[in-house]
């Protein structure tokens, strides 16, 4: 940390249009919220202590699992509370300015991109769409009702091996086609859509494999997507495939590029 010993700083959660500043709650997730306005955009922020959020302490706190989880949840909860009554462009975790003037300068520097991002998310919410597959069930569902009883010797063994390889390949093809179809069908109801890397099993803790991890930007009445997912889920139930819709979320996935402005 530099020698300038300011006590506090502004932690910015995200940005709303100045015209909606009155809709921002005064408290959320246990934190008092301040609105710092610069022209057409206003940051939703909290005053935080530099003892906790100064560069050195922050680096240490990022290594503290409980601290990080607690503050990541608070970040999200504040955004959700704001999103309940205003359109909000989320900042990534840990956007901190020393003073309100610095924060206003930051907003002015990026005004054009932030206004564009607010325009993009206006009246919309983010949904997550995930597809999970129970691979053993899928293979069983795809396997021909067969001479599985072949012995593990000689020709029977080789045939069984080939059959297993064929089933694995069939399952992969099935999943690839499925992912494409689900994505296309849900994205058709969205203003924008992105595919993120599926979360690995070590992190999800689930027995099924995640094969699609998509995010959609949709009108806040998201029934079209949910209905589409219900139809697909019904059709796929027998294949060990589960579809999941998460959210509504603040539009984390659709504000990227707001900092690209030269």
């Amino acid at each position: 940390m530099s020698a300038v010993a300011t006590e506090t700083a502004f932690y910015a959660y995200g940005v709303v249009a100045s015209g909606q500043r009155a809709a921002v709650p005064t408290r959320a997730a246990g934190a008092a919220l301040e609105v710092v306005e610069a022209g057409p955009v206003a940051a939703v922020a909290s005053v935080v202590s530099l003892d906790e959020f100064g560069e050195e302490p922050l680096r240490e706190n990022l290594n503290d699992r409980d601290w990080l989880e607690r503050h990541a949840r608070a970040h999200e909860d504040v955004l959700l509370a704001v999103a309940a009554s205003a359109d909000v462009v989320p900042f990534r975790f840990g956007t901190i300015s020393r003073t309100a003037d610095d924060l206003r300068a930051l907003l002015r520097d990026r005004e054009h991109a932030l206004v564009a991002a607010l325009e993009r998310v206006r009246g919309k919410i983010e949904l997550g769409v995930k597809v999970w597959v129970d691979e053993a069930r899928l293979r069983r569902a795809l396997a021909p009702p067969a001479a599985e009883a072949a012995s593990a010797t000689g020709r029977g063994y080789l045939e069984a091996r080939r059959a297993a390889q064929r089933e694995a390949a069939d399952a992969e093809t099935f999943c690839a086609d499925l992912v494409r179809e689900v994505y296309e069908r849900v994205a058709a109801h969205a203003a924008a859509a992105v595919v993120n890397r599926p979360q690995p099993r070590e992190l999800t803790g689930r027995a099924e494999r995640m094969i699609l991890n998509a995010a959609l930007l949709v009108e806040s009445d998201a029934t079209a997507v949910r209905d589409e997912v219900d139809v697909l889920a019904e059709r796929l139930r027998g294949f060990g495939v589960t579809l999941e819709v998460t959210g509504p979320w603040p539009a984390h996935n659709f504000v990227d590029g707001a900092d690209d402005e030269a």
């Binding site: 989880e69 909860d77 959700l80 900042f91 840990g94 300068a105 900092d259």
Partner: protein, 66 residues
């Protein structure tokens, strides 16, 4: 908690949270922020998740027990 979406809260798993709050959103870089702009939050998030998945905990517990 004063979230306006109480029903959502229990659904927000840590992996979802990390996927969005640490990995996404507008990234502001430059002199004007103290921020963690030069810290790889994707990596920090991954470490958090691995810790919660029990991988790091196990090592930590073994270290304490030793």
């Amino acid at each position: 908690m004063e979230s306006h979406h109480p029903a959502l809260r229990s659904e927000v798993t840590l992996v979802e949270l990390v996927d969005r709050v640490l990995n996404k959103g507008v990234v502001v870089t430059g002199d004007i922020t103290l921020s963690v702009a030069d810290v790889d939050l994707v990596y920090v998030g991954l470490r958090l998740l691995l810790a919660s998945a029990g991988t790091l905990d196990r090592f930590a517990n073994e270290a304490v027990a030793a």
